[in-house]
């Protein structure tokens, strides 16, 4: 299986990522997350744990591959300072059939949210604070264990 994991400050090109995933595949599902445009949100800054991040993501791609017949998987996660409206994360999965591609893409996103060591710090009206984890993300990840 073709796997691509990138942690980077730069924006990504979703079209190039999809083309890279598609080789011979019938189905490519993707998820792109954006920094929300919220009233007073000025900047989002992302920090991560180099080394562990890549290992955790690779491990979850391996788990996805054990569950579904995937042909390729790509995870690109940005770090550093981002503005509202900017893309922050891209997850893409390729399979022969769409059902598997969708399931694996959602699975990877749920695990990325709850297990990959990234932390967000937001600045609103000049005040900077760390973003709290959401219980809904834990619930989303937990449903794959049933």
């Amino acid at each position: 299986m073709k796997t691509r994991i990138a942690i980077q400050c730069e924006p990504f090109d979703a079209a190039a990522e999809i083309a890279g995933l598609s080789d011979g595949a019938g189905a490519v599902a993707t998820f792109t997350g954006f920094v929300r445009r919220e009233g007073d949100l000025a900047t989002l800054r992302l920090e991560h744990y180099p080394g562990m991040t890549e290992r955790e993501i690779a491990r979850h791609i391996g788990e996805a591959q054990a569950r579904w017949p995937l042909l390729a998987a790509t995870v690109v996660h940005r770090v550093g300072s981002l503005k509202p409206g900017e893309p922050i994360v891209f997850v893409g999965t390729a399979a022969l059939h769409r059902r598997e591609a969708f399931a694996a893409c959602e699975f990877l996103m749920d695990y990325l949210k709850t297990r990959a060591p990234f932390w967000k710090e937001e600045t609103r009206a000049g005040v900077t604070r760390w973003v709290d984890a959401k219980a809904t993300d834990d619930h989303a990840a937990a449903r794959w264990k049933q």
């Binding site: 562990m52 955790e56 932390w119 967000k120």
Partner: protein, 83 residues
């Protein structure tokens, strides 16, 4: 052992990483956190409530009961918020 701190844990301890000897009588992550908590006001603030904190041993998520050794890379951080 190598200790790494991320996000507000890093801010409260005032450093991103440090190398320390494994404290005597310290066998698991909970022991280690309680030793770190008494080092300073900043460390106390970071390690005072383990419910708010998460840890990894050698780049893998670990429970507070997980055993630790001299050669481990141990990281402390808040619950993750990526994606």
């Amino acid at each position: 052992m190598k200790l790494l701190y991320f996000a507000w844990v890093r801010q409260k301890t005032g450093r991103g990483e440090e190398t320390v000897p494994l404290p005597a009588g310290c066998s698991n992550l909970r022991d280690l956190a309680s030793r770190l908590a008494v080092r300073s006001a900043g460390y106390a603030d970071a390690f005072g409530d383990l419910r708010r904190l998460r840890a990894a041993i050698n780049q893998e998520h670990a429970d507070w009961d997980a055993l630790i050794g001299e050669d481990d890379e141990i990281a402390f951080f808040p619950p993750v918020t990526g994606g």
